[in-house]
Symmetry: C2
Subunit: 356 residues, 2 copies
DNA sequence: CTGAAAGCGCTTACAG
DNA sequence: CTGAAAGCGCTTACAG
């Protein structure tokens, strides 16, 4: 049978309270007593029961992190940083996926209230239907990502500015017919699309609905399929803004399959600066931000909220910057109209079967 | 204040036991009583306290999944499948990273014993130093990956066979001077290296230590750097076996930076069939397995172990297959000696700046 | 500096 | 089909 504080106390010849004091360091305990207790703990292989402690204290030392799709490289890197940042504060992380939508988000909130977790870091999927409602008794929650709900704490990147700036970069390089991939109705896409539109408008370029290409799932394979179909039926754009690096990977793949080179024929940019974006061929120009800092900030804000539910609501913006790599280039001649697929100088070919 | 079973019972005019029966469905309850209870639950916004339930039942409904490095795309995909598979059984997943090594693994075991988690799915990093010891009182654990410890349940891929087969594929295509990237002292690398050696030996090719290239971290950027340095100082191999798809991404990047085409100059294969491997340029030939099935099997085995700690130990091998894509090709002429870098027909050039 | 007691909220034998 | 009581293992006022 598992040892309990009583067993330890009995063996050490002290009361359970003293054992607790030694374990939690709440009060000063004489060295002799401390040693007796520690010997008993070791002898009995005692491990405190966290459920009991959680019931007593109302804290379990566990938080949840809920991301839209755990399969994304972006999710992988953020999970890592959340786990590490939480670990530094003695917290453990439960992961959840919000892909299911609003129901899932609501369920996560109740689970927080069911107190196996002390708080929740939530990346909601849709703006208009967020589970975060004034009406509900709220557990400690930090929103990350695009939804700016003034009801709860919030850590984010200024997505709109970031996409505006990277679109501006493409415009400065002489591109005018610019497509955007991942333009669907998620919160992320909507907020980033605004930045895209702002940059076009500032340059006097009118937005074209046909150049706003959805990709219902944001996996690279989906982007390759959807953007590939776009290439089959439309003029080749001069540049492509991708909502994420993972989408950019699919876009580059589709361009290669159509015999188009990056950035020779088409410039491509991404968003997130995932590790793999540096080893794409070509290396990807993208939006970079300090993911470790992002995670640590979110954990800090959540910990502060857990400690004091009544503190003022915070909103923290993590800085971003453009990570310039090889996937974009200056257009030599400034073209005003759309370029026809037929005007390409070389016909389609599979670069992957080119012989050395 | 939060409502408790007592509050619900009082409001519904029944005993706490009846409330519990309604919530857990243990005994039959009359429809009228059930409705009264459900109304009270709704009215009081009652959510059961999982710490209390965990203390009482000795189960929290939470399991932990510990992977070596959460940043990997492979980890991302596995996490997704574990969370989904666990969710189907009403379980939640706590994630941990074992990169820290054995201490971390031991700590995870005690945490399991501290009973905030009912069990643990563990991918240990090193063969010889596994935290899994006969001596320690073991919580329910399922090992995944390469370590075959007959002490606990085990779900894995036959790594040795998989790498042997994919190396064999390269040999069948006429490659003889084959490098392997990621050859370090982790359990995964060691077991896969054995398969590599087996294939070479069966073909009468002697292993060359210089062709076994380590990459202390298995990120694509590390592989690009380490394999790039290898290319700077060695003859170009005819083919490269990568311990993972992520490593392959870095290897392909380094080859491009050296003006070598894949598979024109060098064939490359990976392992894992991550989603992104289909959109690499060229699409990657790799080892595929059913990740959903892998995760579900591990969860099943763990659930069975939790239900019956004394059942016989299980070991399940998930089938694998070669996913043939564009990154390998038949060598037209069979060469016996190493090819010099200088013998390439085309000089180095950056494919990324090639114009269309 | 330490001990005896109460209670966190739940579920489960034990009675009725 | 339901009620009253006990107890999971911990920590914290309350006394000494």
């Amino acid at each position: 049978m598992r040892a309990t504080v009583r067993d330890v106390a009995a063996r050490a010849g002290v009361s359970p309270k003293t054992v607790s004091n030694v374990l939690n360091g709440t009060f000063r305990v004489s060295p002799a007593t401390r040693q007796k207790v520690e010997e008993a703990v070791a002898a009995l292989d005692y491990v405190p029961n966290l459920s009991a402690r959680g019931l007593r204290n109302g804290r379990t030392g566990m938080i949840a992190v809920a991301l839209p799709d755990l399969r994304m490289s972006y999710s992988a890197e953020m999970c890592h940083h959340f786990v590490v940042a939480a670990g530094k504060r003695g917290l453990h992380v439960q992961i959840e996926e919000t892909a299911g939508g609003v129901d899932r988000e609501v369920e996560l909130m109740s689970r927080a209230r069911a107190q196996l977790i002390d708080g929740l870091i939530l990346n909601p999927v849709r703006l208009e239907t967020t589970a975060v409602q004034r009406a509900v008794a709220m557990p400690p929650v930090v929103l990350i990502g695009e939804v700016d709900q003034p009801i709860v704490d919030h850590v984010w990147i200024d997505n709109t500015a970031a996409v505006r700036e990277i679109t501006q970069l493409l415009i400065d390089e002489g591109h005018r017919r610019i497509a955007i991939v991942g333009a669907d109705n998620t919160a992320t896409a909507q907020v980033r699309l605004i930045g895209f539109h702002q940059a076009l408008e500032a340059a006097g370029i009118s937005a074209e609905a046909a150049l706003e290409i959805p990709s219902p799932d944001w996996h690279s394979t989906d982007a390759a399929r959807w953007f590939g179909e776009f290439l089959d039926t439309h003029d080749v754009p001069e540049a492509v803004v991708c909502m994420t690096d993972t989408l950019a990977m699919g876009v580059i793949s589709a361009l290669h399959d159509h015999g188009l080179s990056v950035p020779g024929d088409v410039s491509v940019v991404g968003y997130d600066n995932i590790t793999d974006s540096a080893t794409m061929v070509p290396a990807l120009t993208t939006i970079d931000f300090d993911k470790q800092k992002f995670a640590e900030t979110a954990i800090d804000v959540l910990a502060a909220r857990i400690a004091d539910p009544n503190r003022p609501i915070m909103s923290v913006t993590i800085p971003h910057r453009i990570m310039r790599r090889a996937s974009t280039r200056q257009r030599s001649t400034r073209k005003t109209g759309p370029r026809k697929t037929g005007t390409r100088k070389t016909g389609p070919r599979k670069p992957s079967t080119r012989k050395g």
